[in-house]
Symmetry: C2
């Protein structure tokens, strides 16, 4: 159950609509602005997924769903909003002009949160009149199911903004991770970009198909990563001697030709054709809607299974359900 | 239920013992050779974990557990074995001398499978008299729970060996992935090495602690990777326009400073101290045994949750249980 009542979401793509889902699920009324003609239709498609997902995942009494209103301008959407989420395309100039419009009509104490995957918050806030209230709050698709949100402040962001954001995102069932030093792509996307580059090499060099890469992930280390990360996994692998032993054993590999990281694959039409063609062969028999349902059913099953365990996403979900239960009992 | 009756495992570390667990669970009698004095104790510790895990995970009637016998030499362990698994330290000279000993006593039609994480099978088999029967069968820790095994043949490996290995590993509930071109570190470990290097940079540069990196993984994309891999995840993210759209959108990022992949962190004592210190702070309050139980409980919950879904590891597990059920009904 959210600690805020009213939010605005600027941009109704997959990420923006995912935010709308998570907010209304937690009782927040949401105003949406997106200039696209089919915005309402696209948001409704995501909401259909999220309502199904929450229905299957959450066993505690859920909040009364917040309302949704589509507005025809930023000026109409942001007044009164305690949280303003920007999920527009990844171009600095577009984002900066959106902030200029937001600042003209927003309440002075509203938090402005960018969903950017990689642009530095100091650049985002560079032209703002009240830059202290802007931060990056970077979520992961599907936003209505994955708990992680990376919070990143820029040079002018106040600690008040970070702290308030942390409270808000926690109250809608998320796990805020404060990235303490500003850096392009933050933490998770840097790791994802590393995997992505190596994956492109493996396909380009004919070592693996897209299907091989996906299978290597989801039948193996992906299952580990769903509950322990990079370092704890290796700590366990090191045995009682721990991390130091693991590093002594695998440190020398850094000098071995175990990746093609030293350079970056060239982004040619041939590479796009190769990847897109293999991906079609692998999954072209399913629509994206069908794949989303498969993904969500799997995520629900994983999160549901983990719920009983006092660890990671399962623990976070357990706490969230306790809060929902308390809120219901308070009524 | 395994299609083989008797196997030998050379090396009883975490990986070797994991193989023993998976084999005896599926009714295979196993001979173990490990020169270490505490080998039996270490294998028993892993078996304690695996018996607990299978008991919680598998609801079909399980096979009668195979027997275990510790032998005092390779010569005593390998005669009669249909599958000989080598899980000794990652040094080519050690492995080659183990194969020489194996070949002196093994049945001529035995398959010899190396658990190496990265050495090329052509190098492993270079000095063998019957190199066609050697392949890499690279598993993932914990071997008794994670289904992936990468099968890699060298220049002299026969397709018969690959095909036979595929049948054997499938029969013990695994998902064999045939890596068709030989390459150092195969597929999964190349991706893991890419993440590992970027993780080291993030900690070294003070952007993130080991805990931050782990949280960024397990509360976010790790949950996705437990069921879809790199390419299918992005295919869905691209929406109905699919992979081509996703690549058009994110291709340019390859040129952005989103990773520090261009060079490799130097493996200094300072770096080891930093990582080991942070890891102690993060998880030093737990023993490795406790962490293994947490990991296994989480993996069991994830796999158990996925079992009902016709996809990935859940599907593989469902098939495995059907086979167990059929075998039980045949008795």
């Amino acid at each position: 159950m959210s600690i805020i009542k009213y939010a605005a979401v600027i941009g109704g793509g997959v990420i923006g609509a995912g935010w709308v889902s998570r907010l209304i699920e937690n009782g927040v009324d949401v105003a949406i602005y997106d200039p696209a003609e089919d915005a309402m239709e696209k948001v409704e498609a995501v909401l259909k997924n999220s309502r199904y997902a929450y229905g299957k995942l959450i066993s505690a009494p859920r909040a009364k769903e917040g309302s949704i209103s589509f507005k025809d301008s930023i000026a109409a959407a942001v007044p009164g909003a305690e949280l303003i989420i920007e999920s527009v395309p990844e171009r600095l100039d577009i984002k900066q002009s959106v902030y200029a419009e937001i600042e003209q009509s927003a309440d002075t104490d509203a938090i402005i949160a960018s969903s950017t995957s990689g642009i530095m918050p100091s650049d985002l806030q560079a032209k703002m009149s009240n830059p202290e209230r802007l931060l990056v709050a970077h979520p992961f698709n599907p936003v209505y199911l994955l708990p992680l949100v990376e919070l990143v402040g820029g040079k002018s962001t106040s600690m008040d903004t970070i702290n308030r954001a942390r409270e808000i995102y926690t109250s809608v069932g998320m796990h805020p991770l404060h990235v303490k030093k500003e850096i392009e792509a933050f933490i998770a996307d840097r790791l994802l970009e590393a995997i992505w580059r190596e994956s492109l090499w493996l396909v380009k060099d004919g070592i693996a198909t897209t299907q091989d890469v996906d299978d290597a992930v989801r039948f193996g280390f992906g299952l580990r990563y769903a509950q322990m990360g990079v370092f704890d996994t290796y700590r366990v692998a090191g045995g009682e001697a721990g991390m130091r032993h693991f590093m002594a054993q695998f440190g020398p590999c850094l000098k071995w030709p175990w990746t093609r990281l030293m350079d970056v694959p060239e982004f040619t039409d041939e590479l796009v054709d190769l990847i897109a063609g293999q991906s079609d062969e692998q999954s072209g028999h399913m629509t994206i809607r069908e794949m989303e349902r498969i993904r969500d059913d799997n995520l629900i099953a994983i999160l549901h299974g983990l719920k009983g365990n006092d660890w990671g996403a399962g623990q976070a979900l357990g706490k969230y359900e306790s809060h929902l239960l308390e809120a219901a009992n308070d009524d």
